[in-house]
Symmetry: C2
Subunit: 285 residues, 2 copies
């Protein structure tokens, strides 16, 4: 595993470091020379490429973040794969590639993919290069479009932010937007299950799948669940009012999951259950 530990935390993998089949390499995958060295010293059968700037909000004023950490990481890895004959890549793409399509259940073969954030742009640009590298070098790719994912080791995002804010001030909670932004939240164990399931069971040149959950949860519901779990009553919600949390935010979206359902995969947890589990685990940590 390689990570620059900018958003990732070594604490999150402490329990793996002593495992004989696990190696952690702290490098910045946005640097071509470093990635080339990595492919020189290690032999890979397959690359799970999840490296990215996953903090969309932070890149809004600094598109270079997504250019370097979301897009150029992909290019460097593809070049490593091309030069060192690594034939399979599983790529963490995102619902952000679809842009803002309210009221539509979005399927993988939708057209007009017009991302509204630099993050979405960088993910879609990554997909474009992955596909061309697959055809030019006989690689296989799994382009997996993740929804919002929650678990006990969050480093940013709405649950993480709310816990921080309420720890500082349990009397009131600032909520970006109007609280009605509604998204499907997937529990991380479900995500990992889907990734391995698709990798093992689908073997086309390009295997593009939405991974998600049918249900969704509003931002206000997340606040409600968190307050209850923290035993807080009468917390005053201070909405910032817009229908989007920040520039580049997509206030609502819903996947069409027919394709992944057709290959017999469904998430174990609903969106609300995922939020509940993540809250419990985050509070325990």
């Amino acid at each position: 595993m390689a990570d620059n530990l900018i958003l990732g935390r070594i604490d999150n993998i402490n329990h793996l470091l002593s495992h004989p089949n696990f190696t952690f390499i702290p490098i910045d995958l946005s640097l071509p020379v470093k990635v080339h060295e990595l492919f020189q010293i290690q032999t890979f059968d397959v690359v799970f490429h999840f490296a990215a700037n996953s903090d969309i909000q932070a890149s809004a004023h600094d598109p270079a973040r997504d250019l370097h950490n979301t897009f150029l990481t992909t290019i460097n890895i593809l070049e490593g794969m091309r030069l060192f004959q690594v034939k399979e890549i599983i790529f963490a793409s995102s619902s952000a590639v679809y842009g803002y399509k309210p009221g539509v259940r979005i399927s993988e073969d939708s057209g007009n993919l017009w991302p509204v954030s630099y993050y979405g742009g960088a993910k879609l640009a990554s997909e474009a290069f992955i596909v061309s590298y697959c055809y030019m070098n006989n690689l296989k790719s799994w382009i997996l479009r993740f929804p919002n994912v929650l678990g006990g080791r969050l480093t940013h995002g709405v649950v993480y932010d709310f816990i921080n804010k309420l720890s500082k001030n349990p009397a009131s909670l600032e909520i970006l937007g109007n609280g009605q932004q509604s998204k499907p939240y997937l529990y991380v164990a479900d995500l990992i299950d889907a990734i391995f399931y698709l990798w093992l069971n689908r073997r086309e040149t390009i295997n593009c799948f939405n991974i998600g959950v049918d249900s969704q949860t509003t931002v206000t519901s997340i606040a409600d669940m968190l307050c209850e779990e923290m035993g807080l009553r009468n917390v005053e919600y201070l909405y910032t009012g817009e229908n989007v949390g920040w520039k580049g935010d997509v206030p609502e979206f819903q996947y069409d999951l027919s394709k992944i359902h057709a290959v017999n995969w469904k998430s174990q947890y609903t969106s609300d259950e995922a939020v509940g589990l993540a809250i419990q685990k985050m509070l325990r940590n």
Copy 2:
């Protein structure tokens, strides 16, 4: 006008250099610092971004060409526009973004855009970033997907190659592929007319259009037309045999042009006429 003169030729703009409203700046747009300087010293109302590695064949063994000259030129220009408040970009995209979709008339809102060349990947990746920059910075973009374009000032491509080969050896002609690769060829004057027409008449945030011609021409027909125009008889055609000319080549494609026809634009010349005109002009030069 800015160009690195790697594929472009100063001879092609000699007649413009003395025009009072024309400035030529010889810079490499793949270098961020140079592009930043360009935006510092010049004021732009609009950017026509046509800079790219337009030689798909050449990049097949060197994807860095398309990363730098096709994709990073776009990023550098978008950053210049963001920082210096330039609000409109006309982008030379390509049929290559669609990948290989035989037997289908491809419309702008097609899904599964799976480019088979690094060039197509870099063009699609450029589109992705252009769209996200538009939404994040209130820009307008014209994403114009060009077909094969011909004119009297070619620097590469099938007509150019055939003229070179026949000039050296008028007895035989090597034809990459089986000669049945069939594509729509647009005459350059038609292309320029379409670009300005769409820029002046369509003013959405994202204006994405196929620009093309309904008819198409096979590679063997091009050879036939060229031999006739050069007065060569009984030239032996030596086919290399595959159904694609080179890795990353798309042997046939046809646009759905409903969208551009619906705004009342049609090309003046057919594909065969475009080939004929380009051959005449190339031979005269």
